[in-house]
């Protein structure tokens, strides 16, 4: 099932939560919606599910108008951020709910329901909890039951709103792997919301980065990480060193110093230079390099992280870099930094 979202606008009062959102999700894809809090991720998901209605725009599933149908007729499985399990039903009944409320003409008989629920509980590996109530489950267990409940109706689309948001780091990591392999098994078109970039980059085929109700970039994890299209994406994904520069006559100027890097077609004027922390080469201070004194070094794991006080225009700017450990840095030492890879975005863009 493909999902096509076109020019969706959603306002709450005079606040625009979604501003002309366009998105195409391919069949069988596992797509991550990534963005800071309040960027409109949940709102977009709810509109796709039919729990919220857009002010403008269209949504179609496999070319068919989805807005013509209510939430119950879209056959969309929704996993809520806070699970929303039915608290007065046990796990079995929670999962069976979607089967029981079907119109009598298509409803399974009791044996069929029992078989299907048992299968689903096995799929999420929680068959032994069938008789428990939601209040007697751990967060990770609730999340998996919520997923089983959503899968019971054999949804054409699966939407997950921060499925692992409320869980601790270790459980998150496990469930992440588990979701990935589950998706490989059942291959239903899925969108999941997260504001954890690592989660998005690791689990999804493609990542949609949102900010302030707009889509900033859509791409594979490598694309959004290595070739961010906007300053926002660059600073939101991965750790970056950001320096204010000026593009003038095809040269990149940091203060009164001309850097030995090409502007790569950046438009002239005040701009921002983005460098990944690990994309700098350490060398003896030279002419066109960034130059600064080492202030603090923390060496752990494969890299050493150092605070460097860059000298620009007589001022000092503190930046953090990650350097391989083969070259030992000493506090007080003055070093040159040559950006290996970098991107320049016009300021204010």
């Amino acid at each position: 099932m493909t999902i096509e979202v076109r020019n969706i606008v959603k306002r709450f009062g005079d606040f625009t939560a979604l501003d002309n959102v366009d998105l195409k999700v391919e069949s069988g894809e596992l797509l991550a919606l990534l963005g800071p809090s309040g960027s409109g991720k949940t709102t977009l998901l709810r509109i796709i599910a039919g729990l919220e209605w857009p002010d403008a725009g269209t949504i179609s599933f496999d070319g068919e108008d989805a807005l013509a149908r209510g939430a119950g007729e879209r056959n969309v499985g929704f996993v809520f951020q806070h699970y929303a399990l039915f608290r007065h039903m046990n796990v079995f009944e929670n999962v069976a709910f979607g089967l029981r409320v079907q119109p009598r003409s298509v409803r399974m008989n009791e044996a069929g329901i029992k078989k299907r629920v048992t299968e689903l509980l096995d799929l999420v590996q929680l068959g032994w909890l069938a008789n428990r109530y939601p209040s007697q489950l751990s967060g990770g267990q609730r999340q998996r039951i919520a997923l089983a409940r959503a899968l019971a109706i054999e949804p054409r689309i699966l939407l997950l709103d921060e499925p692992f948001g409320a869980l601790d780091a270790k459980v998150r990591k496990e469930l992440r792997q588990w979701l990935r392999s589950l998706h490989e098994e059942i291959h239903v078109t899925s969108i999941f919301v997260t504001h954890d970039q690592e989660e998005a980059l690791e689990v999804a085929n493609r990542v949609v980065v949102m900010d302030k109700g707009r889509i900033e970039q859509i791409g594979t994890p490598e694309e959004v990480y290595d070739r961010p299209q906007t300053a926002f994406v660059h600073s939101f994904i991965g750790e970056s060193i950001v320096l204010p520069v000026n593009i003038e006559a095809g040269r990149v100027q940091l203060g009164d110093k001309v850097l030995d890097i090409a502007p790569n077609g950046a438009t002239p004027g005040p701009s921002q230079l983005f460098i990944r922390r690990h994309d700098v080469i350490l060398q003896p201070p030279g002419n066109g390099d960034l130059e600064g004194a080492v202030r603090r070094v923390r060496a752990f794991g494969p890299v050493q992280r150092a605070d460097i006080a860059l000298r620009t225009n007589g001022n000092e700017t503190m930046i953090e870099i990650d350097a391989p450990r083969d070259r030992e840095l000493k506090v007080g030492e003055v070093i040159g930094l040559k950006p290996k890879r970098y991107r320049i975005f016009a300021s204010g863009a």
Binding site: G72, H82, R149
Partner: protein, 289 residues
């Protein structure tokens, strides 16, 4: 408190902060007990002793009298209808207020409390002014031969009005507390609005609902002021139990009056017991999540 204080002293200090002068504690407890005895226990004892003062035979005879039976029947009918109406209205109002956004919501929320803030006698009078012979709709009702005031419909109306807030007030905070996410989950799983209500919304508030119904029923059976205004006190026809108690008392038929009163008192006691059970349930239900 210093940190080096031994644990033993700490617990002692904690105890004494609660149990300061023992005398004060005893005085307060004694006051409460005396108050309860005078205002609650004594009246109850008086009701039952007076009711049985001529023996159990006279008591049963008083209850089996035609007027008494008519009053009991009427009270049960009125309470049944009012509770049913308020069950429906109360759930509807609570559902609307707690699960939807609409203009005038705050106003509706305030309006629900109106019956509590108005004297029952005034409530009764309003119905007389509306439906009485000289009332707003009086001529039309007369022309169509419909009698509301001084008849059962008036009593039902007045009782329903006075007891309206019980169910709604009990349900609104419960429903608000539960939010809408379970309903949304049900909808997206394909349940219709009605099925969602029956299978998700209602089961989640059932103990609160029962609690509201219980209080509503107790008040409906015991209502005096509003009913007194619209009833017309027609013997054997429009007298509810509380009204009959007053009439009998004024006629110095103490045994009969208190026999009926004892039924109302028993209703109160039963209500109390069920209330305690329900409160326990409600609490457990709440601490579940």
């Amino acid at each position: 408190m210093s940190e080096t204080l031994p644990l033993r002293d700490l617990t002692k200090a904690k105890e004494s902060s609660r149990s300061e002068p023992a005398l004060v504690r005893y005085i307060i407890i004694a006051l409460a007990v005396t108050f309860l005895t005078i205002f609650v226990v004594l009246p109850l004892i008086v009701v039952f002793t007076t009711a049985f003062s001529r023996g159990i035979g006279a008591y049963l005879a008083a209850l089996a009298g035609e007027e008494a039976l008519a009053a009991i029947r009427l009270t049960l009918i009125v309470a049944a209808i009012s509770v049913l109406l308020n069950l429906v209205f109360g759930i509807a109002a609570a559902w609307a207020i707690s699960k939807f956004e609409f203009p005038g919501k705050t106003f509706l929320n305030t309006l629900i409390d109106l019956p509590f803030s108005v004297s029952p006698v005034i409530s009764g009078l309003v119905f007389v002014l509306l439906f009485g012979a000289q009332g707003l709709l009086g001529p039309w009702l007369l022309a169509n031969d419909i009698q509301i005031i001084f008849a059962v419909p008036g009593i039902v109306l007045a009782t329903t009005f006075v007891t309206f807030p019980f169910v709604a007030r009990e349900m609104i905070p419960l429903m608000q507390d539960q939010g809408t996410s379970e309903e949304e989950a049900a909808l997206s799983l394909g349940a219709s609005g009605l099925k969602t209500f029956w299978r998700v919304t209602l089961p989640n508030v059932k103990w609160g609902l029962l609690y509201g119904v219980l209080l509503c029923n107790a008040r409906a059976m015991g209502e005096f002021g509003a009913v007194s205004v619209v009833s017309g006190h027609i013997r054997g026809e429009t007298n509810t139990m509380p009204l009959l108690v007053e009439i009998l008392y004024n006629e110095y038929q103490f045994v009969a009056a208190f026999a009926i009163a004892s039924l109302l008192a028993m209703l109160a006691l039963i209500t109390l017991v069920i209330k305690i059970i329900l409160e326990g349930r409600l609490e457990r239900h709440h601490s579940d999540h």
